[in-house]
Symmetry: C2
Subunit: 152 residues, 2 copies
């Protein structure tokens, strides 16, 4: 990981479909050299993959909510995690320190959809004894960038 790798990564975060030729001319290198470096970054697992970024609002998923969940017993966790994996509306599930056990980020069509996820999917699960939902009114910033200035 040198500064050239950081520049390549940064370019690919900004434009995941950029061609090697394009990167090569921006960074004053040959295309095969870029291809080599990218292949290495992929093999090292630094670059996990590439993805199209979608506009959830345009696709009808205009509501975002965070749901904190408490689970009473260890043995209920597996079922909960299976449900979370299954639910396409659950974009993120984090095991949290502090008051609640899990923090979910949910993307859904609206309040009815959110109600269904909470009442019919999550609260039906054994062990789920408490949920706290925070509805998002607007999103000011949303990236998956990582600071790439410091050393590695």
């Amino acid at each position: 990981m040198d500064s050239l790798d950081y520049k390549i990564i940064s370019s690919l975060v900004d434009n995941g479909r950029s061609t090697w030729s394009e990167l090569a001319s921006n960074l004053q290198m040959s295309a095969p050299a870029i291809a080599d470096r990218v292949r290495r970054l992929e093999e090292q697992g630094i670059i996990k993959g590439y993805s199209a970024l979608l506009d959830s609002e345009t696709l009808g998923y205009g509501m975002t909510a965070f749901i904190s969940i408490s689970i009473d017993r260890m043995e209920h966790r597996a079922l909960f995690l299976a449900k979370v994996a299954e639910l396409a509306e659950v974009q993120e599930c984090h095991h949290a320190a502090g008051e609640d056990d899990y923090l979910l980020k949910v993307r859904c069509r609206g309040t009815k959809d959110l109600d269904r996820i909470i009442s019919e999917e999550l609260r039906q699960l054994p062990g789920v004894f408490k949920t706290r939902t925070t509805i998002i009114l607007s999103t000011v910033k949303e990236t998956h960038n990582i600071p790439l200035t410091e050393s590695d």
Copy 2:
């Protein structure tokens, strides 16, 4: 937006660098037809762009935290939002309904780094009178997929 568009989108979410030729042969179409459809999806804003997905742990950003923030006066918001935009560690900033005003997702190197962001960056801002930090112990699920089965 027909079922073919959904298939194309879904493929490009899974592999953002897939070639038109590849998509074409998977979906029994010609490459120019795929290119046309993708161009339209981009123009409509349904596909916002493409990005490389990075492994934050491997890059040294092994700590994730959510920070709830309360701000006391309207006129302090602009400065807060400017700071949030500036901080590379803040991946998300949502305006939330409920007890606190904003919910931040922060990706940082460790506890020292998190402390700096909270104590030196955020709590220094005028109007920020309350923060509540939830540290993430592990992440079970993390995608930016949107359910693509229902109609649009």
